[in-house]
Amino acid sequence: MSDLDRRQFMHSSALLAAAAAIGATPGIDPRTGQGLPVPGLAGKNLAEAAPGISWQKAPCRFCGTGCHIMVGTQGGKVVAVAGDRQAEVNKGLLCVKGYSIGQILYGKDRLTQPLLRKGGKLVPISWKEALDTIASRIQAAPKEFAFYGSGQWTIPEGYSAQKFMKGGLSNNHIEPNARLCMASAVTGFLATYGVDEPAGCYDDLDRADVVIFWGNNMAEMHPVLFSRIIDRRATGAKIRLIDIGTRRTRTTEHCQHFLNFNPHSDLAIANGIAHLLIKNNTYDKIFVEKFLAFRKDGAKPSLFGKATTFEDYKRHVAEYTPEHVEKISGVPAKDIYLLGRLFGDPKLRITSTWCMGMNQHTRGTAINSLVHGVHLLSGHFGKPGDAPTSLTGQPSACGTVREVGTLAHALPGGRIVKKAAHRKHAEKYWNLPAGRVSPKPGYHTVKMWERFCTSKAKGGDINTIWVQVTNPGQSLPNLNKLFLGKKGLSEKFLIVSDVYPTATTKLADLVLPSALWVEKNGVVGNSERRTQQWFRQVKPPGKARDDTWQTIAVAHRLYQRGFAGMKDKDGKFLFEMKDDKGKPVPVWDFGRYYDVNVDQQLFEEYRQFTRLKHKDLAPYTEYVKARGLRWPVVKQANGTWRETRWRFSEFDDPYVKKGSRIQFYHSSSKNDRAQMWIRPYENPPEMPDAKYPLWLCTGRVLEHWHTATMTGRVPALANAMPSTYVELNPVDARRYGISNGDQVRIKSRRGQLDLRAWIQGRGEPPAGSLFVPWFDEKRLINLVTLHLYDPISKQPDYKKCAVSITRLGPGK
């Protein structure tokens, strides 16, 4: 359209707008189109009203991709969503979950009032009674209270929980479900760079010549990012995709190469690549000379290990010849040679991505550090398109868990409770008396739930857990041990803030109704260091309320009761919020909560923490204007705020010393070098044997997000994927006499589950292994999975354990 056309058109639309304002056409049924004006009756066409939908931005509520959505609201309800074309992440595209997100607010069984278990039944109570109940539980035993959240906590939600626990209760038992999701990615980054989170960003996906998916079914788990890669082919880009996986998936179908490896043997593959780089002399000499240090474990695996030499490293990888790697991994030696050639070619740009496959791994930290190592050794790092990038599964696993540090050992901004200087920072920013923050790390997730499911007499020293924004009753591994063990322990008390009844609320003693997504303000941080903000657009139903409010209200109840920890060193309430004139606002009264922007005030306080590790955040108001900004966001001479796309690279990162090209300025060896780890392959703790002859892997499907408490209530998604199944190879199907659709029983040393068999379905595991999605709350595969975890990250391995399969009968 030419400019003239456009002007003329705008003019005519203005006339039309005026015409439309005069007379609307009521009585059109939007579901059927009944009552639409008859074609040809121009007068009625002219009178047609604008739909009256108002649009506002919000990031998606689901995975860690961080797509931006335009939310259409009308009459106080969400009525439509659209991909946000101003968003760099998704450029207007969404996945089926994103397109369905408006509907997650409107499941008929939304929790709308607080419920307390009385005589075995959950009965409605007032918010006052609910807050008093929690305050009394905490006062009775403040050190036996624990807070369990997730990467779905917004930054202000996680920050207020963090401050409440560590600053208010001097109690470090705060954990997120992200421990189950990406703790090994964190320890991988820390072990390698001395500081957490990817150096690259999604722009790498637009530039890479080769993308390697390490156990990563991106087509289903991060579909918008996957499209961002494969859509390049539509415009003629030559891009080589390699799937290193343990089963065929939708991702495999788009890849030129599928390297099907034996579970756990990804360590051998990574070592094999390093072997070839050394042997062929194709490693990056400048990187080794200037940017790398070498490291290995002492007697026990640890985050920082001990220093060693390049010679030692070479000796270690010498044994990983492609032929030896083939023996361990089952991947043909020629494919290892291929990877060696690609990484050895400095002209290519190579991006690696991974998610749960490498993280839910009893050697999670090891494989994470090895993949970083392969990129560093080959110099495929620090240029657009050359990056090792981990992806997160939750909208704020990075923003909240990793940056705010809602973990048992952490403090905001990359600090840890063990360090006196870090505790001092927290006490300063929170205006607390010295010594308020405890130096002793709390229990990590598995330990926390173990102690909760054990009677006090037997050492179970966690007696109350408050769960927000997650569903551990379905997502913890080995549920019999770590969740269902609570049954019959009358001294234990479980508080659950949620939006729908879940597997967790089944055992809850107190249920609190929460606001969801655009029913509240929020700030989150996605996988590429991008911090994103949104405003409340509709009101929550009934008495449902913001999670941040819930935390502050409980804190205030304790403050009213004289609980010393809820006062700062001047005797003021820990969460005092002020209006523009500096006057305190009683935000603990929900009627007054939105008198001020609590999110903004918490965010500005939190922002002070972000400088130490050079993860600088901009003022809240900058995020209001943007579709997210990637930290460090640094103020320019002209007063604007500039985001950083490539960390540690001189051309983009303002914190890199001029002339150094690459600088790892948080190096754990204190010499600006990243750590190259010696990490050998070892067998996993449980492997198939005569009694349990098959591998079991669990994971997700495109349609459902996590435990399907939200997506399961969206008709289109629930209809498309109504229940879980077990995927098996035709060879195993024949061996065990199983037909498509048959009922089968999966059994491990820990539990069993009956499922429907799907042969040649959406994915295909190789012979000898099974795959089961875990979204189905009526078929909990976590009754079967293993609770053993990585010794450094404490993240359990949901991706492999040994099981048996037997046919029960034909499908129903």
Binding site: S13, L16, E48, A82, G811
Partner: protein, 245 residues
């Protein structure tokens, strides 16, 4: 707006695919294995009933699937896409029917429609066999892709009925989406109406308004190809969303 540019190679591939499809159609007709049947709609994807016991082999499964395709779903059913000749204006009843059919497959206007038939779960290749160019199969319209730049079909479109019992929370949802964007506006009688909806991912107008589309949405003048010469998006409708073109 850029015209829908397809490489000559992909056109050649399409020609081959079509030749094969038409070949099957002729074979199906001659052999007369089955009278033209209805396209199965929204059936749960279940394996054919077999006596319980050993799993079928790869080859058996594949043969069975090919057999189904030959005899039922595609062969005798593919019809030529109607020629682009001027037609009468849709009637109000046709239009209502078309909007109703649209609404059944979308939870709101702008949602990707669900897939009303069984699919191969693994790839998008089979989707594109019919939908890349569009086809009329047994009177049912397999619409041409309205957004040829996106081909990862299963990212946004899911089947309307998957396998197995409904285990995920089986509760009603009270979401009420806006299902129609209403009609285009005209500056005067006889003027071309504006486009009342977003054109984002609807760059191919003829996917919904072409001769092989629902009668109620069809253009009266399919012989004219440069739609946006006369019809322009109604900017006022989608300003904040940034979704107009």
């Amino acid at each position: 707006m850029t015209p829908n540019a397809e490489s000559p190679l992909s056109q050649r591939v399409l020609t081959v695919i079509f030749a094969v499809a038409v070949g099957f159609a002729i074979m199906g007709f001659i052999v007369g294995t089955r009278p033209a049947s209805k396209l199965p709609r929204s059936k749960p994807e279940r394996a054919a009933k077999r006596p319980a016991g050993a799993a079928q082999s790869y080859t058996q499964l594949r043969t069975a699937r090919a057999q189904r395709t030959r005899t039922g779903e595609l062969s005798s059913l593919v019809a030529a896409v109607p020629t682009a000749v001027p037609t009468a204006a849709p009637t109000a009843a046709q239009r209502t029917a078309a909007l109703k059919a649209r609404a059944q497959r979308r939870s709101y206007n702008g949602a990707p429609p669900v897939i009303p038939h069984g699919i191969g779960q693994r790839t998008s290749a089979s989707c594109l066999t019919c939908h890349r160019a569009g086809a009329v199969v047994s009177g049912k319209i397999a619409p041409r892709l309205s957004h040829p730049e996106y081909t990862n079909c299963l990212q946004c479109h899911v089947v309307s009925q998957g396998m197995g019992p409904r285990n995920v929370p089986n509760v009603a949802n009270s979401f009420q989406g806006t299902l129609t964007s209403g009609r285009g506006t005209r500056v005067s009688l006889g003027a071309p109406p504006t486009i009342p909806h977003s054109t984002w991912m609807r760059s191919n107008c003829l996917a919904c308004h072409g001769p092989a589309s629902k009668p109620g949405l069809r253009t009266r003048h399919p012989q004219r190809k440069s739609c946006r010469q006369c019809h322009v998006p109604n900017q006022r409708r989608f300003p904040a969303a940034g979704i107009s073109q």
